[in-house]
Symmetry: C2
Subunit: 296 residues, 2 copies
């Protein structure tokens, strides 16, 4: 019995793959699982779910092949061989493994050369968030390929965001998002470390200052202003502080961290970026001008 | 005429100081302005606002001295001399200049040694935000000193947050907040630079992914989890990803940036922090364990 007319192979049942497997099983799709290490799929086999002992067997039994492996290297190890290429014709491959845009595009070319459709679906959340049907999957690929992938990806309970026909765009966007998150988290941890050293309550920092600031006002306005700058739009009415004022503030942060005996090498590297943009004549410009130091 | 029984001197009428001056003038407080360069206060003098030609004169005429200079160096240049010390007795000094916690504490000691109260009030926002009465001022200092400062700071229309009696705590918290903001902004700009290079819409990145993610879900949960970790609380039910999974994701971001020919030196410096925490045995721990690399 299938709920959307597709037979689905799931290649990879690791931390994220098992969350996807659980959602697809619950959706009633006709599913075949394959994993390099058989121990991860044995519990599914005992519940009567189809499992395959070879990746070609799993793919051969499917219309839509969902790949959720560790990375691009694991994907190429498992898929990029003549035996798999020979059974891909007229199927659709959905790459959910974390990859770069270039890796996604290279896979798309190989997949397309075997007469198979391709969708890049990058999961923006944790496995547990996906299990709770609260995850987002950012997708790119031709409209036709996305239309075929949509019922299967929807069966995971995720929010789907189709961001364009160019394979790799989903990877670009999710890696851009990760770039923001990880730097923000390092900044937050640095702030928490400052509080610990000064015996200031971490709760006061996060609840009273940081989250309050994140949820409203200048933080969101600054991010929107950066977006408009990147779009080449004018916004003559924007307030805010000049890049050289931001650098003064940042150097105060570095001084605070040094006084507290915290690691500052990564902050020094960012201070170099401020110096380069200001040296390039952007001192009176908005903080968005810091992008000049990143792109040159 | 005074609205709260205090005569106020404002020392420094620069970008932020003039926003404060405008709010205090509007509140009807008895105000005396001083600025190193007289051109900044001449327009106020023409409107009948008291201005002083010497900093001692301004302080001598006041009960509450609000200082809003460029930094600690400017503060020490203007205030730390015997003439000022001689007129401070029984007054209250409110330091609004951007400083580090150690600088604030050193100023507090000097001010207190002249029988004068001290409050550290760090402004969390831009001058225009303060002008619009939407700014927050994070304050620290003894309860008695804060009680005396409150009517004057309230007259600026700002939201006041008193974070403890220890002078310097306000500076610690605002610099902790800046650490978060600046790293988050660099991360966002890096993401926008990736989008530009890949010809992906900056609006899709900021509106559809980034701001949506910031406003809800895993981002806020992660920050709250880091706070609980810094508080030494247990949270056995927390989902999320292990630090080594975050490093894999971050190395993908670095690869994406390298493919797009973006600057990655600051990212490499952060990758060293991941490596150090994982090398220290925290690979299976939460991302909050990255604080170990910052504090050692």
């Amino acid at each position: 019995m299938t709920s959307c007319g597709s037979r689905v192979a799931l290649i990879g049942v690791g931390n994220m793959g098992s969350a996807i497997a659980d959602r697809l099983v619950a959706s009633g799709l006709e599913l075949t699982l394959w994993n390099r290490s058989a121990s991860r799929i044995a519990p599914y086999a005992r519940r009567g779910i189809h499992t395959a002992t070879a990746v070609v067997q799993a793919i051969g039994a499917a219309d839509v092949v969902v790949v959720c492996l560790l990375d691009d290297e694991a994907t190429r190890d498992c898929l990029l061989n003549d035996a798999v290429g020979a059974v891909l014709s007229e199927k659709l491959l959905v790459q959910l493994s974390s990859v770069t845009a270039a890796q996604s595009q290279a896979l798309a070319r190989w997949v397309n050369s075997h007469d198979c459709g391709y969708v890049d679906g990058q999961i923006q959340d944790y496995p547990d968030t996906l299990r709770d049907a609260r995850a987002s999957i950012v997708c790119s690929g031709s409209n036709e390929a996305y239309r075929r992938a949509e019922p299967v990806l929807s069966a995971t309970g995720s929010r789907l965001i189709h961001v364009g026909e160019q394979p790799g765009n989903a990877a670009t966007l999710v890696n851009a998002q990760l770039s923001f998150c990880i730097l923000a988290y390092v900044g937050a941890l640095q702030g928490l470390a400052l509080c610990q050293r000064a015996k200031v309550s971490p709760t006061t920092f996060v609840e009273t200052l940081l989250l309050d600031y994140v949820r409203k006002g200048a933080f969101v306005e600054d991010l929107e202003k950066m977006m408009r700058d990147a779009n080449g739009e004018q916004h003559p009415d924007s307030p805010g502080a000049a890049l050289e004022v931001w650098q003064s503030a940042f150097q105060l942060v570095i001084g605070e961290c040094q006084s507290a005996r915290l690691e500052v090498s990564h902050l020094d590297a960012i201070d170099v970026l401020f110096g380069r943009a200001i040296g390039g004549g952007y001192g009176k410009a908005d903080i968005a001008a810091l992008i000049k130091s990143l792109t040159t």
